[in-house]
Each structure stands twice: as structure tokens, then as C-alpha cells.
């Protein structure tokens, strides 16, 4: 009977993984980010859009492999950086800064339905909706053309 433990534990791993991502929506806040695409495609994972974020800018740190930041809603409705540190603090998203632009691994790419990649890439103005949990994990929810 012990051999049944394998599928049971493996199912548990997948379920925990899923819960950890849904938890960002249950116990977090939703932000909408202004985004711009560049370069898509990965042979293993399929089509995705690589994104950069014009609003996520750091003036204090310009280049760093690991920075920690939180977001806040600005007056126009899109999210901007609230607090950015080089040391971890509770609720922070772990990311990196390159040339003053802030990003996080989960924000950099967004998998899209096969065939949608080129369309989204040609659209310069995009917006990404994400849920951020109170302990700093991100769940990307939606990627679409910006309506402004």
C-alpha cells in the first residue's frame, strides 16, 4: 500500500504549488502595471511576451542583482514603486534593477496563447494585472492592450 504514497505526495506538491499562487489573490492586493513588450519565444515553454515596465523606476539604485520593493497605486491608476531597498523586508517583492529599470523574474515574461505573441509584441502599450500577496509573492493575472 505504501506505493500509493507516491501519487498522493506528488499530487500534494502540485496542489501546494497551486495554492501558493492562488493565495496571492486571496490574501493580497491587485495592481495594474504599465508594460511594454520586447522579444518573445522559448522552445520549451512556448510563446511568451517579455515585458519591461516604464513606471517601475529606481533613482536610488541603478544596477543591482537583488533589490526588494513594494508597489502602490499612483493617481492615474497604474502601479509605481512605493519602497525600494537593497535588503529584504517583509512583504517585499524580490527583483533586480538594470539601468534604473526595476523588474522581478515573474514580471519579466508572460506566457500567452499560441499565436498571440506577435500581436502583443507589435502593440507597444500593454498593461499587466498582478496580485501581490502580503508576503511578497506575485501572481500575474492578465495581460492586455492598454485602453488609454
Amino acid at each position: 500500500m505504501k506505493s500509493w504514497l507516491f501519487p498522493i505526495l506528488q499530487t500534494a506538491v502540485v496542489v501546494i504549488l497551486l495554492i501558493s499562487y492562488y493565495a496571492a489573490s486571496w490574501f493580497g492586493e491587485q495592481y495594474v502595471l504599465r508594460a511594454e513588450p520586447y522579444d518573445p519565444f522559448d522552445p520549451f515553454y512556448g510563446e511568451y511576451v517579455l515585458l519591461q515596465y516604464p513606471d517601475l523606476i529606481s533613482t536610488t539604485v541603478t544596477d543591482d542583482d537583488s533589490v526588494y520593493f513594494t508597489l502602490k497605486k499612483s493617481t492615474d491608476g497604474y502601479a509605481v514603486i512605493d519602497r525600494l531597498e537593497t535588503e529584504p523586508f517583509f512583504g517585499a517583492i524580490e527583483g533586480s534593477v538594470f539601468g534604473g529599470s526595476v523588474t522581478a523574474p515573474q514580471l519579466e515574461q508572460f506566457y500567452v496563447e499560441q499565436g498571440l505573441g506577435p500581436d502583443l509584441e507589435s502593440t507597444r502599450n500593454l498593461q499587466v494585472t498582478i496580485d501581490v500577496s502580503s508576503w511578497g509573492t506575485i501572481r500575474p493575472v492578465d495581460l492586455r492592450e492598454r485602453s488609454e
Binding site: F6, V13, L18, G46, Q109, R139
Partner: protein, 391 residues
Amino acid sequence: MDTEQKLKQWQQAGLLEQETAERILEFEKHQPTPKKLPLLLMIGLVFLSLAIFSFVAANWQAIPDLAKVLLMLALMWLFYTIAQFSEKKAFGSPLLFRVIGLAMFGAALLTAAQTFHFPLANSVLPWAMFLATLAHYFYWRHLIYSFIGFFFGALVLLSFMPDIGWLEWIIFIAVAVAWFYFSKELAPVAFSWILLFASGFMLWGLVDYDSVLWPIWTLFVLVLLFLIVPETKQRIIRPLYLIAAGMLLVVYLAIRGQTFIALVDKSQLGEAIVLAIAGIGVLLLSFFKFRSLMWVAVPGVIGLLLFDETAIGLAVVAELSALAYLIIAQRQNESLGLGFVYFIVVQFVIYIIYAWERLDMSVFFLIGALLLFLLSAIAWWINRRKEGATP
């Protein structure tokens, strides 16, 4: 019937008594005939599964996110269940079904990663597969799980880069050591050893101090494993140490001889001296505990010899160790294959380093190398004959 004919033959040749032959026939008659699936049913099943797969693939985008993952999990359960029944009822191959079940677990993780936008720079997926495969290995002890485990162990190591943390590195080493310690066959022992050796390369990312000697340090630390394993296992892993030591010598020789960049700076002389002392330590330890491993101490001199820009010191050490190994192995009637390959590789590397750009000299080296090959081939041949091998 085939058995009947065979029995008749054996009976005629006087190998079997009439009575025994009859008893065997009687026994065979009562054996259940193997049940075969009708061919048409098999073809039908293949087509049905193809149809299901293409139907799912065609509608993949329309399936809700969560359902995609659940579908993969359902497939995983299906194959584990089939495996369980095939083991109980003795049909098909339970191993194959379990491997497919494991693959479906990987597929479920991958699907979850894609549909829920997990970051790529994340080691959760390879870790989950690595641990799951090792659990399979320890429960069923089948060779195939050690191959899969090695593959995902290597993926875990690769996923560490570029940002690697001490905690994750230590956990990985603990898992690999456990795998090494609790396995007995060659494949899992060798695979876990290679993973341990490769995890030493991660020190380049972990430590701020930029040393070129981490692989040698790793090999020396791995010598400690010899202290905790029984003698039968020592015999299995000894070639791994010798191969690694030989490869290190050749690689450092090739790099030092071929590149003109500053590999080492003067400030690293201290480390080179400490490495040489550690080499002496390894030499002493292996001299008193396990003499066959003494060769592993040779790379200890590499640190000091890297300061010599002509790489002649390294070439001499490589050449002498190759010759000495061959001679000693020949005297002790050990197999020469490994030493012979090392010897040839050393000749090639030295030849490329020192004779490549000097054509006039290269003819001399070519003739010398050919002569050496001939001589060593003769020595090898004589040794094989001495061991009693037929040509």
C-alpha cells in the same frame, strides 16, 4: 509443440529418462497459457489514445487553467493505478507505467508553471522531480530511476545559477550524499558522486574569493567519502577519483598551455601552497588507509605549477604520472585500460600545446608520439596476454 520436440531430442541423446520427460510434459500442460491482447484491440487502443490526445491538444487554449493541471494529475493517477494493477495481476510492465506516471508528474508541474506564470529562474520544478525520482529509486531500486534522478539532479544544479544560496547548496549536497551512501550499485553511486563533484563548481558562484582551483579542492574533500564507505564500494568508486584526477591534470595543462591570459594572480600563491599541503595530507591519508587512491594527491601540485607560464611543469607532472601509473599497474597486474587512455590523452594535449605552431618540430613529435603509441600498445598487448585473455 516446441517443448515436446526438445524433450524428444534430449531423450534420444540419452540426457533424459522417459519418465522425467513425461513428468515435464505433464507439468507444462498445466501451466496457464499467456493471455495475449487481440491485435485489432491494440490497434484500436492506439488510435483511441491518439484521438483523445489530439482532441485535448486542439482545445488546449479553451480548457480552464486549473483543469489543465488537474488533467495532468488525473493522467498521473491513471498510470500509477495501472502500474499497481499490472504488478498485482502480473501483466504489462509496472516499471514502465510508473515511469510514465512520474513523467506525468513532471508534465503537471510544467503545465502549472506555464499556466500560472511561474518564474523560469526557479529551482522548484527540478527539485520536485529530483526528490520524487530519488524516492522512486529508494522504494523500487531500479536502474532507470538513477538515470532520471541524475538528469534532474543536474537540472537542479543548473537552475542554481546565477544566484545561488548557501542553504540550497547545502541541502543539495546532503541529498546527494544520502543518495551516494544508501546506494550499492555502480550507476547510482557514480551518478551521485558526479553530482557531488559538480556541486563543487558552484563555489564559483557562492564565494566572493575567485579561485581557479575549486575543482581540485572538491576532489580532495570527496576523498573523505572513502572513510565512510565499505571496501566493496571503495572498489566501485576508485576509478571515478582516478578519472577525475586525470581529467583535472589534463584540463589545467591544456588551459595553462593554450591560453595566454593571466589565470592566476600573485595574491593566490597562498592558496596554491595550502592546496599543495592539502595534497600531501591526501597522500598521507591514502598511504595509510587506502593506497590505491594515492594518485588523487597528484593534482595538489597544480596550484603551484599554474604560476609557470610555459606549463612545462604541468606537462612533466602529467607525463610522469601517466607513465608511473602504467608501470605500477602493469607490475601489479591491474587492468591498464584506464591508464592507457589517460596516457594517450596526455600525449595529445602536450602535442597540441607545444608542437601545433611549430611544424618543423611537429614532425619530430609526430614520430615520437607514434613510437610511443606503438610501444604502449605492445605493452598493453603483452599485459593482456599475461592476464590470460585470448586475442
